[in-house]
Every structure is written in C-alpha cells, then in structure tokens.
Subunit: 214 residues, 4 copies
DNA sequence: GATGAATGAGATTTCATTCAT
DNA sequence: GATGAATGAAATCTCATTCAT
C-alpha cells in the first residue's frame, strides 16, 4: 500500500491566506495593547502560527506594525468619501455622513484604527504623516468642503470651517475610540446610533431652544 | 560665617518634595514615550535619583502611573467644577467650561494624559476604572447636570444628555489628543482658542443659519 | 563521507532531554547553596544554556524548584513502596525498608532535598504541601500500614502507629540531613549502613536486655 | 512655663533592652525564613526599630546571624544536661531525657534552633562547628554515656552507642523541626507528648511482641 | 514554507548597606 | 542613640530576534 506523494498540502493550502491572517491578528493585538505591549507570541498565536513565521513575512516588529496599519488605512478613506456624494444639499450631506458612522463603528477592522493611530502616532512619525495625509486631510477636505458650500449657499451660518471640522467629527471619533478603550470597563455601553442622532441635532440646530424653527 | 564648600553630598533628603518630583518626572517620561516604553531608569535619572528610590515611594511602575494620573488630573476636574459653580445660567456655564480648556491644553505634559489613557486603558483595567470613575464620570455628571438644568429651565432644547455629553466634550478632547499625536506632523497647528470659540458657537446655536436670532 | 568540521553551532535543540538536564543542574545548585542563594544564572550556566532557556521550561524559579523535588523524590518513594510489597512479614518489611536507605543517602545531590525542604517549607507553602502530600504522607501510609498489619497479626506490640512512624523514620532522616549539614565539620563521618543496622535492631527488639529472645 | 530638661528619656528607657529585643526578633525571622530570605526590614520591624538601628549593634547581616544564633545556643546545652542527672539507672535516665523534651519543644526561643542550624550549617561553617562542639557533641556524650553504662551493667543490650544515639535522639529532633517547618501546612498537628511516650516504649522494648516481659 | 528551541539584551524589582540628620 | 531616605548591585523575568531542522 504505497503512500501516494502528497504535494505538501499542509502548507500550500494556506499559503495565500497567510499574510491576511497575520495582518488581521496583528492589527487586533496592536489595537488592544498598543505597539509596545503587544507581543509577537500573542500575535502569532492569534493567527494560528508560530513566532518564527512572522519573520518570513516581516523583517521585524516595527515593520510588521507599519505595514499592517498602513494597509488597513486604505479602506477607511474610500468608504468614507463614497457615502457623502449621494446628496447635494450640504445639510443632507452632513446628516448622511454622520448617519453612516454606526456602520464604521461596527466593522471590527476599521473601528480599531483611530485608537491605534492616536496611541502610536507619536512613536511612528511616518505612519502619522501617512494617516494625516491619506485619512485626516481628506476627511477635512470633505467636511470643510461641505461647510463652505453650505455657507456660500447661505444654508450654514459663517464659522471657521477648519475649527468647525472638529465639532463635526470629534464626537464620532470619540465614539469609536471609546469602544476600544473604556467601554469594557464601564457599566453602561454607549448607544452609537442615539449618539449620532443627538449629535446631528445639536450640530445643525444647537442646544439653545427657540420659539420659531427654521 | 561663610558657607564652607559642601563636599558634594551623595544625595539629599527630600522626604516631602520627593513624591511630587518623581511624579513630575514620570509624567514627562510617560508623556514622551508612553507607559511601556518609558523606563524606570529614565524616570529616575530625570528626577535625579536612582531606580531604587522610586520604590521607596511607589510599589511598582503601574502604581506610579496611577499616581501620576491622579495627581495630574484630579485638580483639573475640580477646577472645571469650580468654574461651573461660579455661574448660574446653564448657557454661561457651558461657555465658561469650554473657555478654561485652552489653559488645560497648555499645561505642560498634562494634556498627554487623555491620549495615554486611551492607549493604555486596555492594559490596565484598574487604572481605566479609576480614570472612568474619577475623571470621566465626574466630567459627565458636570456636563449632564448643566444640560438637564438648561432643559428644565426651558433654556436648552430637549436632547439625551448622555449623548449630548459627547458632542460637548469630544471636540475639546480631540484637540488635546491632536496636540500630542498629529500636530507635529501637520503643517498648520490648530488654534485651540479659536477652536473653542467656534465650538461654543455651534454647540449653542447650531450650524444652520436663521433669519431671527435669539 | 567524512564529517566536516562543524562551525560550532551556537546551540543545539534538545527538546526532550532539556527538562531533565535543567532539573539536574538546578538540583545541584539548590543542593549546594539553598533555594534563595542559588541563582538562575548559575543554574543556567551549569546546564550549559542561558537564563532565558530556563523560562522555556519552567514559569519561574519556584516552579523549577518544585519540579526538581518532584522528579527527584517521587521515584524514590515508589521504590520504597515496591521494596515493601516484595515481602509479606511486617518485620521483614521494616527491615527491607530501612535497608534501602543507604542507597538513597548515596544518590548524588538527592539526599539534600529533605534538608532543603525543612529549610524552605516556611517560604513556599504550596511546595510544602506538595511535599507533605507526595512524600511524607505516602511514607507515613507505608510505615503505618506495616505497623498496623504487624499489630493485627500479633507480630508487633500495640502502639500509636502515627507516633511510632517518627521513631521508625526520624533516625534515617537525620542521617541524610546530617550528611549535608554537619558531617563535613565533624571528625568522624557516620557509617549509614551501621546506623541502619543498629536502628533496625533497636526498633525491633528495644534497648533493654532480656534473658530469652524471640 | 519653662520646659524642664528631659534627660532624653525616649531612648534611654530602652537602651539596655535593645540588644535582647533585636536578637529575639532576628532569631525568629531567621528561623522562619532562613538566613537568605529573612530581610533586615522585617527583623527591624519585628523588633520595633528601623533598619539603621541594626547596624548600630551588628556590622552586617551575617554577623547579626552568627551572633544571635551563637548566643541562643548556650542555654540549650546546660538545660539539656541538667535534666539527666537526677537519676542513676540508665533506663530511667533515658526515660527522663525524653520526657522533658516537650518542654523544649514548647519554648519558642529554643525550639527554633535545630531547624535553623540544619538549614544553615552548610553556609556557616564556624557556626556549624560551634553547634557541633557545644551542643551535638555534648548531647552525644550524654547519651552514649548512658548507653555505655547501661550495657556495662547488663541493663541494655550491646549495640554501637554512636549509632544508637541517632535512634534515641532523632525522633525528638524531628518533632521540633516539624513544628517549625511542616506543622503549619499539615491538617493534624503532632502530639509531642504522645510521640515521646511511644518513642520511649519502642526504644526500650522494641516493636516486636513477646510472651514474657522483663 | 514553517517551526520552535535558544538566545541575550534589557526590563522591573529587591534589599543589604550607608550616612546626613 | 536612632532614624529613614537614598543607594547600587544583583536578582528574577520578558521578549524580539535568530537559526537548525
């Protein structure tokens, strides 16, 4: 009973899947613990391989971090911009931008990045610049564009668009960050949908009550 | 009676001054490198003592970190609370609350703490809970209190106070975080004062333009 | 095909052999210096590995110690039990039990363990309980079992078996302990074989002389 | 209201008591943990002084250990020998020697020494020699003397007195040692009185049953 | 391609000892 | 005489990285 030559199926089966698996595991670990506290042992274990294997794909821990984060950043931007185009009214565009946020928060691979970037930007300048250029700057252009158009059309009150950008975006950002830092230690989880609804309302009409509405 | 040359004492007794000095040095190191990357050697050196001395005052690195956070942040929360108590009108209270922020952002090293907490919450559950309890919860009580009173008095429109808390606070928080993660890589630094002004305006009156003002 | 000169491998893989080698080296160090004074550096050096390697096999120094005790002593207890099972007469069983002792005393490093356990029981409660459970209790069961059977058969006089256990075992124990504490400072070394012979004689027939022998 | 000059009563009151207090505390710590694991902090705390004070009385840890142990050894011997003189019959002398043992076991400062000496003899040769000379050798002379006289009078069977010494003394020794090493980890404490009674019985008459008694 | 045993530098932590007060 | 803050050397332990298999 001759044992037919197995074309080393054990490894081949996974060969193409590997890099993506490693990236997913690494991203999750880095996001949970930060760069320094994430151990290669843990990343490897989570990816179902051994530590040595990581070094087949990445020259060292820092390169692994940068590569994995850089790759994960790309989807963020496109997804982000696409959502806004569907409308023409600046008000509706803002509403829409905020209303898709809960989707982002729920997507595990995307939601993890802002916290990670906030935590590690100081230690990884190139990465920070990349994030700044490819994510933040584009988001800023998107939002300030909406605001400027709204002001030009008389739909929005005059404000400094660059400053207003923070008021528009920050609560959304904090929501994702919260998810991955404090929520597990808090007793009451935040309701992202409700948060977005309230944020939209305040953003557009303010906190102050008025007799007559627009 | 001229002061004779002191044969350089190997060390000096600084019983009361020490803990604060150590905490200050530690804060600076944690701010620069993050919790994990800050070494006790470096902290000790910056404080002008040896590693062993750190252990006279703190049982371990984590306790040192916790103490640093406590000493640095709690006074600020108190300051914010005091600022709010000084006024009676909810609208003015919000305005004042936001107006102290630039001072907070400018305090040396202090403003890194929110970023540090975001980064390390996952690694130090106890610290995260402490921060939640002593900082976030107090801030939340402060803001939701203002909002509720405003609504009760008919001064503010009805919203979910817990959700609105994020819209009030998040832009401020992002401003501090920005300082220590992306600002150095961006070409135009943010102007915190202007940001606070814009934020207050939008927060109170919204983005949408109206014929008649309050 | 001559074996070419090996460019001295930095290290070798010894997966299966390692734990036993490490335990052996550790036993020697613990025996010479005691638990606290034995340094991991020294143990590693003696085993021909680096400190880090120890942690591949044992989570910490205490676990290493525990493993050393377990590996070294448990086989001996089993040997004693086997020796006893080989006979049927309680008297012979006691004789045989004692007659193996010189071998135990002569086994290299092994005989320090009782002394080490006496010295460290206070510092390692868990280890003390392990030793009590796996070594002392088994020895006690073995001896009291023999005594009880002897009494039941009328071969031995009635005594409290748990108290008699001490009279049976203590001189043997003291002999090993002596070896590693006082013998080197005494002028005349003890002759374990003779000691065992005398002990057996007294144990069975007492010191007091009689007209008629059994 | 002039404050009368207090002749620094605070320290003077204790001046003479100090050394004894220190010695007591040190002995207890060393006995509990062994030389290496006993910390000067703990000893000082137990004595109600600070670490620095220890260095007023002893040049270093090793000297403290040796001095304290050496001083504690002296009472052992005298107390031990005095008990035996009261009788003339070797059998009674042995009985008496064993019967006073429970007193030793109960005396905290004495009972602690055998364990300590067993544990540290290897690391402190001079101390071991002192103990050997002043305690063990004298005890050996005492016991072998009794045995030899008993044999000469035909009261005891002929045995090697030096070997028999172990059978006589070991169970007693083990009882004290047990007290300070394993008893706290065992569920059933040993009953020293019962142990001594049983030991006497076996020692004199052996385990083996006989028709006619002496 | 994958493994995982081994490394070794560096981290935190401990503690006997010193010395200004 | 007593203190206790400070030291500094050495201990245990961790972990990114290497490399024989």
């Amino acid at each position: 009973m001759a044992r037919t030559a197995q074309p080393q199926a054990r490894w081949q089966r996974r060969k193409e899947a590997r890099p993506a698996e490693l990236a997913r595991a690494a991203l999750a670990c880095f996001a949970e613990r930060g760069f320094a506290a994430a151990s290669l042992d843990e990343i490897a274990a989570r990816a179902g391989v051994t530590k040595g294997t990581l070094y087949l794909y990445f020259p060292n821990k820092e390169a692994l971090f940068k590569e994995v984060v850089r790759q994960a950043l790309v989807p963020w931007i496109a997804a982000f911009e696409a959502k806004v185009r569907a409308s023409d009214s600046p008000t509706h565009q803002l509403e829409r931008l905020i209303s898709v946020w809960p989707e982002f928060v729920a997507a595990p691979h995307l939601a993890v990045l802002p916290k990670l970037m906030i935590a590690e930007a100081g230690n990884f300048p190139e990465l920070a610049q990349f994030y700044l250029r490819e994510v933040i700057a584009r988001a800023r252009r998107l939002v300030t564009g909406i605001l400027r158009r709204g002001m030009a059309r008389g739909e929005f009150r005059r404000t400094d668009p660059k400053a207003a950008f923070f008021t528009v975006i920050a609560p959304l950002l904090i929501a994702v960050v919260w998810r991955h830092s404090f929520e597990q230690h808090d007793d009451t989880p935040i309701d992202v949908a409700s948060l977005c609804k309230t944020h939209t309302a305040i953003l557009l009409d303010g906190l102050v009550a008025r007799k007559e509405e627009r």
